[in-house]
Symmetry: C2
Subunit: 416 residues, 2 copies
């Protein structure tokens, strides 16, 4: 077991170098943004495919733009244990959310190939095309295609330039009519394991490197529109105003208040006032609402009270309210046996009683669970920061995660 | 005086038709937006120049992109009475704010030319290039160039695409180094008269058509930035969040509260959260603040309290606050003699005791007053609505405004 003690800095350095390489593939000169089906997505897929090939995997891009690779097990054609994460980013992103999990998976497969161990299953690595939903608002498009939970209504989703998802598929060289080709038969995968930065401060506060994920919080996302009436800022007295922005501002504050009260996590991440003239009363405000919690019931109660508050505010201010659900995922439990394998992997790095807690963030496993059991390994990140350029990990933690993830894969083999 | 009774629908119809023609010159297919130094500005200037020529004016475009025309008085080269308004719009604009004043001025000059009356001054018409400040945030750029109050710091202002004002001048075919050529010597203008829709409900509520403007409210505009820290919506607990949008929302509400309390007019017309991901806590919010009032002292006290509230909120939430003043105009009084001429003009339409009140909105006269006395005629608009496609005027009111404005010009001649 000497390979599994933390401290193999060479592999960790390679992974961190590759995170930097991927971070250089951005649609913005000043910050990292790489969205679904963009030219940068193309470039990143090609680079990841090269690394997969170098690691000894056979590679392909599936019908939904997910970059895939495979190493056969002790005989060809066995069901596969799928490892991976996603390759897309939020705007002004950090360089570890998603990418690190893809690169760790590639490295684990290479290590196992080089070790000569024959596994009773194939290993596959996937770099999911879209987890964040930055471009089309609807998250997990890559893993939903793979898991056969695609909805043809999504073809009409548009990005900020008015390009539909169907058009973006074609621009990327994909055929929307063939997206179902990305669907994996349930029996073809024995499970899905993902390593991801924690995106929270629990590990750092506890001075621990790695954790077992127990469940992934359910999230609901809404596109909210508040409609008032535009008018000249100077000429419209307050008693005649229907200012959509003052109304929306009340709701942003209400989201925070209700979330704290109900122990759920509510965020308005996107908000814009229209028409947007300095001297024009906002006639319309569009904002996003993301609500998530460990328990779906709390989240849904919070949503009910938010809607009630919005309707009361709109009645008082003469405004219109619309909230369209654009994403819904209920809480997902990690598989007990795969969780045990993750815990065994962490134990192999010396932490025999690893922390175990729920993921506040959504992950591709929420879609993959429809066709295979899932589990996740969390890795400490600095200050709990993610979705920000300050995202950072320690090299030693990456080395530990690599060892733990490899040991977890071998543990799955042993327990079968 | 039979020409001056309300009801000359032919001229009013022509003016309204031309408002429709100008409204068709838009950078957006779905709504009217025509900003400073845009291709649409070029097209509108050319059309207005044609109408000026047809009305018998000699025309030129000045060094700041203002479209000008002139009819000589009883002898060539006399100082001029300047009539006009602006030709730019807010986003999703109505079709009368600005344009109507330009078209009324052209029609008044044509009527006087056709009448054969010889005036002791020349008449000039101006279609100011930028009054709203939509593109560069800084309003009155056209009239400030004409009045010699240009500030070379403005060349560095940028539009939403990062184009500087200097570059926009060049793209329009203007030479930034020559902008001072637009400056009018104080002695060259005897005054400035403008007709504008009221942009408020006072005339409609009083069932009156026209009003004398007594003063133009002073306004101050700020670009406000609230700085927090972006982070993953799921992974960042509330006690670690520095959410710039929740903080900004408190301030939007505070602007409304303070404005009502102090009888001033405060508006946040533009607000956007960055980076703008659905599942990312906003790390930065940028918004505009427009504060105006009849009395500068009230406005400035309101600003002081807003700043205090912002600093308190930011200290409480761990946010940063910056407010950069991008525009400042103190209240401007209309000239008594020119106000009398406007009142005489309205009286000529049968309303011998016209309403007189202050303009809540800013106007080009605020800049022109630096080189010449100013006065304004207000025209009723439907519901007090402006800066919105629902902006509307009655044809009979336009006819009355045309008669009153012509009579006002003749009254200036009589009183000299």
């Amino acid at each position: 077991m000497s390979r599994y003690v933390a401290g193999d800095l060479t592999d960790a350095e390679l992974i961190l170098d590759r995170c930097n390489d991927l971070a250089g593939i951005s649609s913005h000169p000043d910050y990292l943004e790489r969205v679904h089906l963009s030219p940068q997505h193309r470039e990143a897929n090609d680079l990841v495919a090269r690394w997969m090939t170098e690691a000894g995997l056979t590679t392909w891009q599936d019908a939904a733009g997910n970059q895939c690779g495979r190493l056969e097990g002790r005989e060809p054609g066995l069901p596969a244990l799928l490892l991976g994460s996603h390759i897309d980013t939020v705007p002004d992103a950090g360089r570890y959310d998603g990418m690190l999990g893809v690169l760790l998976a590639i490295q684990v497969v290479e290590r196992i190939r080089l070790s000569g161990v024959e596994l009773p299953f194939a290993l596959e690595v996937v770099a999911f095309s879209d987890e964040e939903g930055t471009r089309f608002g609807n998250a997990l498009l890559g893993s939903r295609a793979l898991s056969g939970t695609w909805d043809d209504d999504w073809w009409k989703l548009t990005d900020k330039d008015g390009i539909t998802l169907a058009e973006a598929f074609q621009d990327f060289g994909l055929d929307p009519a063939r997206v179902h080709g990305a669907f994996r038969r349930p029996g073809s995968l024995i499970g899905y394991l993902e390593t991801h930065i924690e995106q929270g401060p629990i590990l750092e506060d506890a001075d621990r490197r790695l954790a077992v994920v127990t469940s992934i919080a359910g999230a609901r996302r809404f596109a909210v529109t508040i409609t008032g009436k535009a008018g000249h800022a100077g000429g419209t007295p307050f008693d005649r105003r229907k200012d959509a922005l003052v109304g929306a501002s009340e709701l942003v504050i209400e989201v925070e208040r209700l979330s704290k009260q109900y122990g759920v996590i509510g965020t308005v991440g996107r908000l814009q006032a229209f028409p947007g003239g300095i001297n024009v009363i906002p006639g319309r405000v569009e904002f996003s609402l993301d609500l998530r919690g460990e328990f779906d019931d709390d989240r849904d109660e919070c949503l009910r009270l938010f809607t009630k508050a919005a309707e009361e505010m709109c009645a008082r201010r003469g405004l219109g309210f619309d909230a369209t659900e654009i994403y819904r995922a209920d809480a997902v439990m990690c598989d007990p046996a795969l969780k045990d394998a993750i815990a065994a992997g962490i134990a192999a790095t010396g932490d025999t009683e690893p922390l175990a807690f729920w993921s506040r963030a959504g992950h591709d496993g929420m879609a993959v669970v429809n066709i295979a059991p899932i589990a996740m390994l969390f890795l400490r990140c600095r200050g709990g920061i993610s979705h920000h350029p300050d995202e950072a990990v320690k090299k030693a933690d990456v080395a530990a995660a690599l060892d733990a993830f490899e040991a977890a894969v071998l543990s799955v083999a042993t327990s079968r």
